[in-house]
C-alpha cells in the first residue's frame, strides 16, 4: 500500500492505496466522486477526463501516486452544489449537447480545457479536432459542438469557483 495526498476540488484529501490504483478509481471509489466516468478504460473515449494542475488528462491512464500533491478538478468542482451551473454546463443544457449523459462530464472537462488553451472564439473545425479524444455514442457531435462554441463565449469573465 502507498500513501497519497492530493487536492481535489479545493479540498485536501489523503488515501492509502494499492500502487495499481488509477486516478479514476481513487476519485470514484475512495472519494465517491462518481461524476467522472469510466467508459472504455483504454484511454480512448474521454469519459474519465479531469483536470490535473489545470490540464485535461484521462484519469484512467494515470496511477494516483504519479500525481502525488497535484491539484485535481472534477465535474463536481465546477459549480457550487446549489449554485448556478458553470457556463459550459449551462451551454450543454441549453443546446441539448447530451442524450444519455454518460460522456458529458468528460466532454465538459475537455471543453473547458479547450477554452483555456484556445480562447473564447472557437470555430467548428477547431472544436471537432480538439474533441478527437472524446466519444459520444448516442447522437453524434452536432449539438456538442454547438454547446462548446456557445459555452466558450459564455466563459468570458467567468471565475472558477475553486482550485
Amino acid at each position: 500500500m502507498t500513501a497519497v495526498a492530493l487536492t481535489v476540488n479545493g479540498k485536501a484529501v489523503t488515501g492509502d492505496v494499492d500502487p495499481r490504483t488509477l486516478l479514476v478509481q481513487f476519485l470514484r471509489e475512495n472519494l465517491r466522486l462518481t461524476g467522472t466516468h469510466v467508459g472504455c478504460d483504454t484511454s480512448q473515449c474521454g469519459a474519465c477526463v479531469v483536470h490535473v494542475n489545470g490540464k485535461a488528462i484521462k484519469s484512467c491512464t494515470v496511477f494516483v501516486w504519479q500525481i502525488e500533491g497535484a491539484n485535481i478538478t472534477t465535474i463536481e468542482g465546477l459549480a457550487e452544489p446549489n449554485g448556478p451551473l458553470h457556463p459550459m454546463q449551462e451551454a450543454f443544457r441549453e443546446h441539448h449537447g447530451l442524450q444519455c449523459g454518460y460522456c458529458t462530464p468528460g466532454m465538459i472537462m475537455t471543453a473547458i480545457d479547450m477554452v483555456n488553451r484556445k480562447g473564447h472564439e472557437l470555430d467548428d473545425p477547431t472544436i471537432r479536432h480538439e474533441l478527437e479524444g472524446n466519444l459520444c455514442r448516442c447522437t453524434g457531435y452536432h449539438n456538442i459542438v454547438k454547446a462548446i462554441a456557445a459555452g466558450a463565449k459564455a466563459m468570458k469573465g467567468h471565475v472558477q469557483v475553486q482550485s
Partner: protein, 265 residues
C-alpha cells in the same frame, strides 16, 4: 493488472541503478502506452521506475544549430514551444497530431521513442531529421537506434535523457491517421539539410520506421513533388492488417511523400 512496486528516483543514476538491481523493472514516463499494456496484462513489470521526479529531463533549448528536447517533455510542450515552432515547425506540428489533447498532456517524446511502436509518429521525425538520441551512457544516431518492431538499440539499464534535433532547411510531416486510434496508418516525414535529404515512413513498414532511399535519390536533383511523381515502394515488406493491406499502404507512401515534399518545398 499484475501487482508491482513503484519507485520514484530523483536522479538518472538512481533510476539506472534500480533498473539493474530490480528484477523485471520497467521505466515509466507518461505511461500512455505502458499503463494500457499493463491493464491488458501484456506487460507485468514487478517494479515500475517512474521518471517524473528526476530533475532536468524536460524542456526544450537551442544549443548551437540544434534543438535539444528533454526525454520527459510532453507532446503538448513540443507542440506549443515558441522556439520549436520557429526552428522546426514540422516537429511541433507532428507533436500536435499525436493522439488527442489529453494524451498529449501526458505522453512524452522519450517514452514514445523508447517504445518504438511501428505506427508512432515520433520515430518518423527522429529518423527523418537525423536526430541523435542521448542516453545516460552514450549518444546514438537515429540511423543506429530503431531496430524493428518495438526494438531499439537501448540496453537494459540505458535511459534516454535528451533528443538532439539538427535544424534543417526544409521539413514536413504528413500522416494518414487511423480513424479510430489516430496512430499513423502511414506517415511520411521529409527533410532537407544542405545536401542531405531524408524521406522516412512510419506506420507502413512490417519492420517499423524506414528510409526510402529511392525517393531521396530522386529528390537530390530537385526537391519538389514532381521529382518523385510515379515512384512507388514495393508492397513486399509493408504491414498488412484489418486497417489496410500492404498494397494500400505502399500506395499511401507515394501519395503522402509527394504531399510532404510539396508542403516542405
Amino acid at each position: 493488472m499484475y501487482a508491482f512496486t513503484q519507485h520514484r528516483p530523483a536522479t538518472v543514476r538512481q533510476a539506472a541503478s534500480l533498473l539493474t538491481k530490480q528484477e523485471e523493472a520497467k521505466l515509466l514516463a507518461g505511461g500512455h502506452t505502458l499503463i494500457p499494456t499493463m491493464k491488458l496484462r501484456l506487460a507485468g513489470p514487478k517494479h515500475l521506475v517512474d521518471l517524473s521526479k528526476v530533475e532536468g529531463l524536460s524542456g526544450i533549448e537551442m544549443k548551437g544549430r540544434s534543438l535539444v528536447v528533454g526525454a520527459m517533455t510532453t507532446h503538448v510542450e513540443v507542440e506549443t514551444s515558441p522556439i520549436m515552432k520557429e526552428s522546426i515547425p514540422a516537429l511541433a506540428g507532428l507533436a500536435g497530431k499525436i493522439g488527442d489533447p489529453a494524451v498529449r498532456h501526458r505522453g512524452t517524446i522519450g517514452g514514445s521513442i523508447a517504445n518504438n511502436d511501428p505506427n508512432a509518429d515520433y520515430p518518423a521525425a527522429v529518423l527523418g531529421l537525423g536526430a541523435t538520441i542521448i542516453t545516460n551512457k552514450r549518444r546514438i544516431h537515429a540511423d543506429e537506434f530503431f531496430k524493428g518492431l518495438f526494438e531499439t538499440a537501448l540496453e537494459d539499464d540505458e535511459i534516454i535523457t535528451k533528443v538532439q534535433f539538427p535544424k534543417v532547411n526544409k521539413a514536413a510531416y504528413v500522416k494518414f491517421p487511423n480513424p479510430a486510434s489516430r496512430y499513423a496508418l502511414v506517415g511520411v516525414f521529409v527533410s532537407k539539410r544542405s545536401s542531405e535529404i531524408r524521406v522516412v515512413v512510419t506506420g507502413a513498414g512490417a519492420n517499423g520506421v524506414f528510409r526510402v532511399t529511392t525517393f531521396e535519390e530522386a529528390l537530390k536533383k530537385r526537391f519538389g513533388p514532381k521529382s518523385i511523381e510515379g515512384l512507388t515502394v514495393p508492397a513486399d515488406g509493408m504491414a498488412s492488417d484489418i486497417h489496410g493491406s500492404a498494397e494500400y499502404r505502399a500506395h499511401l507512401v507515394g501519395v503522402l511523400a509527394r504531399r510532404a515534399v510539396a508542403a516542405a518545398a
